[in-house]
């Protein structure tokens, strides 16, 4: 497989996944906050095609064995259910699949409140994915600006910016976040939470990419073709844009792909400090956080499912970044 094919494959997968998340309301059978208090920590529902007599049914069905006599609920498609908004704008209430009440279909089991994990995973992706992406972009952008300037100009500018960056790394963030939380009003709207998450994560994370980029810029500007271009009278801006910064793409991409999963996890800490996505809104961070408890780990294997799904997702991210870098290298050569 060529790098280009690999890239296309990864991008298609990512796009498909983003599509699922974007239309979470349609693909999820339930709302993210819907509790079924009779079924906390319910195991994933088995979807059957064959009945007890061994007959095959084209329409899958589930069996509710919890109640006194087992009841069969056929899985129905394009059913009307909890209202939701497509991409947060267009109201709708058709869901891809569902079962008749009081039956419940939990593809990935239910959580401590009897909420459908599958639905929460899809809805959780909306905030986590977007926040992670934007925050990573923010970090890397600040990193490229600071690192680029520091590396290219050197001297006291370099000293100032890099020491500033170190100061940032050394700050006791936990206490700073306590202070941020204390300064904020108790009520924070969904959008404010989102902006807060993005800005906190983005601002905390820029120092490391900035250092790496500075290193690459420092070596790039010594290269013969850069020195030659400068000899021909190229301006600083032209040199940076045309010759130096393109050398940093590889570092940038790897940084991005490393930062996104990190930020999804950072959300767990932020939520703990009251700065993250609050209940009942779902996020991948809070779904993963429940795994920190011994009883969840030892008793309810399906609580791992969100984590297991995130591993291939992040691997696809890495694969895309890897392919991009390889392609870039080939082009550069």
């Amino acid at each position: 497989m060529t790098h280009r094919q690999k890239l296309v494959g990864a991008l298609v997968l990512l796009a498909a996944f983003q599509f699922l998340i974007l239309f979470a309301g349609f693909f999820a059978p339930y709302g993210f906050a819907a509790q079924d208090r009779e079924q906390p920590f319910a195991a994933p529902t088995t979807v059957h095609f064959w009945d007890t007599q061994g007959h095959f049914h084209l329409r899958p069905f589930i069996v509710d064995s919890e109640s006194s006599e087992a009841r069969v609920y056929p899985v129905r498609f394009f059913v009307s259910g909890t209202p939701y908004k497509i991409a947060g704008i267009i109201p709708a209430q058709v869901h891809l699949f569902g079962v008749e009440q009081p039956g419940r279909i939990f593809l990935m089991g239910s959580d401590a409140y009897g909420r459908d994990q599958f639905s929460r995973f899809l809805f959780g992706g909306q905030s986590s994915m977007l926040a992670g992406l934007i925050a990573a972009l923010l970090s890397v952008s600040i990193g490229i600006l600071v690192g680029g300037i520091a590396g290219y100009y050197g001297g006291w500018v370099d000293e100032l910016l890099m020491r500033g960056g170190e100061l940032f790394l050394a700050l006791p963030w936990l206490y700073l976040l306590f202070a941020v939380r204390a300064a904020l009003p108790l009520h924070i709207s969904q959008w404010e939470v989102f902006l807060l998450l993005v800005s906190v994560m983005g601002l905390i994370g820029w120092a490391r990419p900035a250092r790496l980029i500075r290193g690459v810029v420092l070596s790039a500007k010594q290269r013969n073709f850069v020195v030659a271009a400068r000899g021909f009278g190229a301006s600083d801006a032209y040199l940076l844009r045309r010759h130096v910064l393109p050398q940093t793409y590889g570092v940038l991409l790897t940084q991005m792909t490393l930062l996104i999963p990190q930020y999804v996890l950072a959300e767990v800490t932020l939520t703990f400090l009251g700065l993250g996505v609050g209940e009942p809104l779902p996020s991948w961070g809070t779904q993963l956080a429940s795994l920190q408890q011994f009883y969840v780990l030892s008793s309810y294997w399906w609580m791992f499912l969100p984590a297991l799904l995130l591993i291939p997702l992040f691997l696809v991210f890495y694969a895309a970044a890897d392919a991009l870098q390889e392609i870039h290298k080939t082009v550069a050569l």
């Binding site: 939380r181 108790l186 009251g274 009942p280």
Partner: protein, 581 residues
């Protein structure tokens, strides 16, 4: 509760006890001693009990200890004059073998046991008691027990009558005076007087000192402290209790406290057999441990509801001086009794019991839990959850619904936030369930989990909150331990602490009842008064009581005489009687 306790059996057994295995040095002193004899199955001497502590003890000084791990260790090293028996919840003689109360209920005269020795062999007498109370009552030392020893605004006075008699005097009669002495560890004057007089008491008995610098009257004495790992205690050969067969107590040769920092890690160590007893763990972990109960050599006990009550409350503070206009506006809802009643009616307490505690808890409607059998008021109604009734109440108070959202009589949408402590998973879960329940009334609720200290700061000083889910654990079954919660000038009067004068007629009534029960000596009369306090709480709903979790404990099968109780310390309160097979 009788007013005079005489413990006579011990003297008769004194001689028999002294011949059994105690070191020679002790024997001389104990020939005429007043040993206390405990009922229970006689056990085997020797062996070691291992338990886990959540963190390292910060000090072994009973006067200065505030954290639970320190107190847990200190309980094994020290003894008090009168003790609350954790099984009966009643007082019993300890270092004082008997006591008399004067007619007016203000004077307590205690007869001390004779011939007792500290764990270093030094004799114990009234001078140690007088010295101990002098230290506890010293304002400069700032002991947490001091507040309890101030009755009617004045500190208790202590007078030595003779070598084995002390008299305590209080400014006013005090119903539960015997219970005051529980947990007030008697200090060895010969070891601590110098540092107290020299001004170095705040440093005395920290863990960096050598083991022979410590001495107490408890069943064990310090053997070794390994920072970051464990504290080991060894048997105190001078201990003053014996079993009914005359064997000296304690049975255990050693007690080892391991430092295991999280509940989950403690559960895993217990499951693996590394520790012998476990308390303070969640119902979820109880369920995990239960699966292997038969095969792993331990057993679990669910003791039913303890003394902890969890509740929701609203900010009813006078916000005049604080600049919090948004919250002040919302207080018009919170101050309306019908609003609070509607919220209470809409909350699914049974759902909380099931989802948060896996069924190992009890729904409650006032502050006294069914675990507190002496004081619970059976007449308090337990209305079922009813969203319809909640809607009716809101309607009668002038609220209406617009597109499904509740709006107040002025047309403002009803929306508020509930604070919880982020480190308490159960309470955050309770708040999340309330959020969902109230959404059925059209109320939008935000759950705001905050770091514990940030939360307490908002509740106690800035008053910058709207509602909160909290829990309190009574230190004792007696209502006197709850004075600071129900008195309107109390610091823990959470919804409106430190009032100069009662803000509402019912708070004024509650003040009167609480103060009266404090000086009433007759249990039946006190019960009547405290029942009325419970009724007021259930009617006026200053706190909407929700649930009381069960006390869950576990112990290895090899531990004998294990009799856990609902009062702190749940598992090891009778450590002097525990033995290992």
């Amino acid at each position: 509760m009788g007013r005079t306790h005489i413990w006579a059996k011990c003297a008769a057994l004194g001689l028999a006890v002294a011949c059994l295995g105690a070191p020679t040095k002790a024997r001389a002193g104990q020939a005429s001693d007043d040993r206390m004899v405990l009922e229970g199955v006689p056990g085997h001497a020797g062996g070691r009990l291992v338990v886990a502590l959540r963190s390292e003890p910060k000090t072994l000084n009973p006067v200065l200890a505030v954290d639970e791990p320190s107190r847990e260790v200190i309980r094994c090293l020290s003894a008090d004059l009168i003790h609350i028996n954790r099984a009966s919840l009643k007082t019993e003689p300890a270092l004082a073998k008997s006591w008399n109360v004067s007619r007016d209920g203000r004077q307590y005269t205690l007869q001390l046991r004779r011939g007792l020795r500290f764990s270093d062999g030094a004799p114990f007498d009234a001078d140690d008691v007088v010295f101990s109370f002098q230290v506890y009552l010293d304002e400069k030392i700032d002991s947490t027990q001091r507040d309890l020893l101030v009755v009617g605004g004045k500190p208790i006075t202590v007078v030595k009558v003779d070598q084995y008699t002390v008299r305590f005097e209080m400014a006013q009669p005090y119903a539960a005076a015997g219970r005051l002495f529980d947990g007030v560890a008697i200090l060895p004057r010969h070891l601590l007087e110098a540092s107290y007089k020299g001004g170095g008491f705040s440093e005395a008995w920290n863990l960096s000192m050598a083991a022979n610098q410590f001495a107490g009257l408890g069943p064990f004495r310090l053997k070794e402290y390994v920072p970051g790992q464990q504290v080991t205690l060894e048997r105190n050969p001078y201990y003053w209790k014996a079993d009914r067969a005359g064997n000296p107590l304690p049975y255990l040769g050693e007690v080892m406290f391991l430092f295991v920092p999280s509940e989950d890690a403690q559960v895993i160590r217990f499951q693996a057999g590394d520790t012998d007893a476990l308390s303070r763990f969640s119902s979820e972990n109880f369920a995990v441990l239960q699966k292997q109960q038969g095969t792993k050599g331990y057993h679990l006990d669910d003791l039913g509801p303890g003394l902890e009550y969890n509740f929701l409350f609203f900010n009813l503070n006078d916000l005049g001086a604080k600049n919090l206009p948004e919250i002040a506006k919302k207080q018009s809802w919170f101050q309306d009794l019908r609003f609070r009643q509607a919220v209470s009616a809409a909350i699914d307490r049974d759902g909380i019991v099931r989802l948060v505690y896996g069924g190992r808890a009890t729904a409650i409607w006032d502050q006294v839990t069914p675990g507190n059998k002496l004081w619970v008021d059976d007449k308090i109604a337990h209305p079922k959850r009813s969203v319809e009734r909640a809607r009716e109440l809101l309607q009668s108070a002038g609220y209406s619904w617009k597109n499904g959202a509740l709006v107040d009589p002025r047309g403002k949408a009803v929306e508020f936030s509930i604070l919880t402590s982020a480190s308490n998973a159960q309470r955050t879960k309770i708040a999340t369930i309330i959020q969902d329940d109230l959404s059925q009334l059209g109320i939008t609720v935000q759950v705001v989990p905050l770091d514990f200290h940030a939360m307490v700061d908002r509740l106690q000083s800035s008053y910058n909150y709207e509602a909160a889910v909290m829990g309190l654990v009574s230190g004792d079954a007696d209502p006197t331990s709850e004075m600071n919660v129900w008195l309107s000038n109390g610091e823990t009067h959470l919804w409106h602490p430190n009032q100069a004068k009662p803000a509402t007629p019912w708070e004024s009534e509650m003040d009167g009842l609480m103060e009266k029960q404090l000086v009433t000596l007759d249990y039946a009369k006190r019960k009547q008064l405290y029942d009325r306090v419970q009724e007021i709480v259930a009617e006026e709903l200053p706190v909407i009581c929700l649930v009381s979790p069960n006390i869950l404990v576990g112990a290895a099968n090899r531990v004998g005489n294990f009799r856990p109780a609902i009062l702190v310390p749940y598992a090891l309160w009778n450590i002097d009687q525990l033995y290992v097979q």
